[in-house]
Structures are given as C-alpha cells and as structure tokens.
Symmetry: C2
Subunit: 177 residues, 2 copies
C-alpha cells in the first residue's frame, strides 16, 4: 500500500479512542502487568506514545520542513515514560495522549502538505536519509506496533491459564519489544 495522507490520518485519529475503549475500564492488574524484566506494561506503552507526541513525530516533521536533511532529528528517548508517567493515573495518561494527538493532527493539517512534499528529505540520527512520507508512515506504523504490543502483553498474562489451547494462540507464544 502506498502512503497517502488521506489514508494515514484516520488511523492516527483513531488511536486515542482505541486505547480508551481497550484500557479505561480494565482492572489494574491488566494495566500494570508486563512480559518480565525490562518489558513494558500497557501503562508504560501509553506513556511512550505520549512522549512520541511531544518529542518525535511533529517536532521531526517541523525540523525536516525547516532544514531538510541538513540537520539530523533529535534522538528519541525510549525510556522517558518511566520518569514522566510516575504518579499519574491511566485516565490522566489517556486524556493527555488524546489532547496531544488532536493538537498534532491539527498542526499536520496546518502544513497543507501536497503529495510532492512526501519526497522531501530529512536526516535520522541513526538511519540516515529518510523522506517526509516515510516519517509519517512510521508515525502510523508505530501506533499499530504498540497496539499489537498491548494485545501481546495482555495475552501473555494467560499463557498458563489457557492450558492446552496455547497451541492455537501464536500471539501468546511470541515475544519481542
């Protein structure tokens, strides 16, 4: 599937509602359980998505629009949520994410990007030359990656509980970040 803004924006717009529908009414044990040492719980994942809204996608897009590939993006802190989410409730995180995402989609719209803009170059600090379209596609794919992670982290809590059905549930046997 080729990237287009018209296809991408609805996915980005949906994510806050998906997280709320999925997590807001769950017992705390689902929200705080992870896959073992140095893995993330759904609570950690929402915090990570918040940090992305604050420091990653739109700030990188603005840097690319202003400076092309002459200035590399600021490296992304994959562990910021362990500091920033401390003492917050899941509800607060869900609200914060929804507000930040709505604001960022408004900013995206304000740039009035055209299809030809998708080829504009930027520079990733590790990956090197990237395009504006690749940056926006990655914003979408990053949401989906972490929604898939929430499904996996939650599912794996029942690896024992499902007994012999484990054979039919590939997600519960997989592991990754």
């Amino acid at each position: 599937m080729n990237f287009s803004l018209d296809d991408a924006v609805p996915v980005l717009r949906a994510t806050p509602g998906v997280l709320r529908a999925w997590l807001a009414d769950l017992p705390g044990v689902w929200i705080r359980s992870n896959e073992g040492p140095e893995t993330w719980s759904p609570f950690d994942i929402v915090g990570h998505l918040i940090h992305g809204e604050r420091t990653d996608w739109i700030p990188r897009l603005e840097l690319l629009l202003a400076h092309g590939d002459s200035r590399p993006f600021t490296p992304f802190d994959r562990f910021a949520q362990f500091r920033d989410s401390q003492g917050k409730s899941l509800d607060q995180l869900l609200d914060t994410f929804a507000e930040l995402r709505a604001g960022n989609l408004s900013r995206l719209e304000s740039f009035r990007l055209e299809p030809r803009d998708l080829n504009r170059p930027g520079r990733h600090p590790e990956l090197g030359l990237v395009s504006l379209g690749q940056l926006l596609a990655t914003w979408v794919a990053h949401d989906l990656n972490h929604l898939g992670q929430i499904a996996r982290v939650m599912g794996r809590q029942y690896t024992q509980a499902v007994g012999p059905w484990l054979e039919y549930l590939p997600l519960l046997r997989s592991r990754g970040r």
Copy 2:
C-alpha cells in the same frame, strides 16, 4: 496471572468498542487489505469473531456445564466468515458482534459461576481434556490474539512505506495467522 472471572469479563466487554473505535472510520483499503493469499483482512477477522460468539465460547460452555467431558465440543469452523460476511458492511458486522458479545456476557453472568466451577472438565475435539477456566481464558486470549492480528495486518501494509524505519518496527516484519 491466574484466571478469574472478575479480571476476564472486562476484557471481553471492551472488545466491541475497541473494534469500533479502531475500524469504523477508516478508509476501506485498511479494512479489506490482508497479508497475502489465504490471510485475513480486518473485515475477515471481525467476521471470525462473530462466528466465535455464535458457535464457540458460550455454546461450548453450555455443553460443558450440561455434559462435562463426556461429549466433545463441536469443531470450530475457522473459515465460516468468508460465507457469512458476504455482502455485509463493516458497520453491520461491528453491530452484530457487539450485540452477540453483550448477549453472551449476560448468559455467562446468568450461570453464576463460582471459583470452584473453573475446574469443571470438558472435552475439546482435538486437544482432549480441558477445564471450564481454560475455556474462558481462551475466549479472552482469542480476542487479544485477533486484536494483535489486526495491528499486524494493518502495520504490514506500510512495510515499504516506512523505508529504513522498518528496522525499528518488529511487528511489520513478523508474519503469522
């Protein structure tokens, strides 16, 4: 995590809203794209979840409650959705799934199961002896498995579009049912 009805039911109750928040407003290309021949699109997955509500979880529970492990469950048709979903819109499928799930959770509640009931035995046609608790845990894990599948199927549509970022997106490189 040990299985308990109090933890499991909120996950089952959330799934129809998650699917609606995620899929209802997406362009059709996201809904109908799969991972290649003999793989499922989000549309197919919602149809599969509907078939599970009709023929799998609660019917099996009722058989187990009535006959213990003396009668094996009816085998589940993993391809029924290709027949049953034909000519339907996604909105219709989402409504049908939400109604069936709500009805099944009411039926589950009506059985007034106690913790000791979780050990009651049933018989799976392929897996053999299973327990009531394992059946209910699998209902939950099956939802999560297919939510993870939706994330993966959608994410993989952007395997090319993300360019060099693919390295950071394990979900887009994975494949499975």
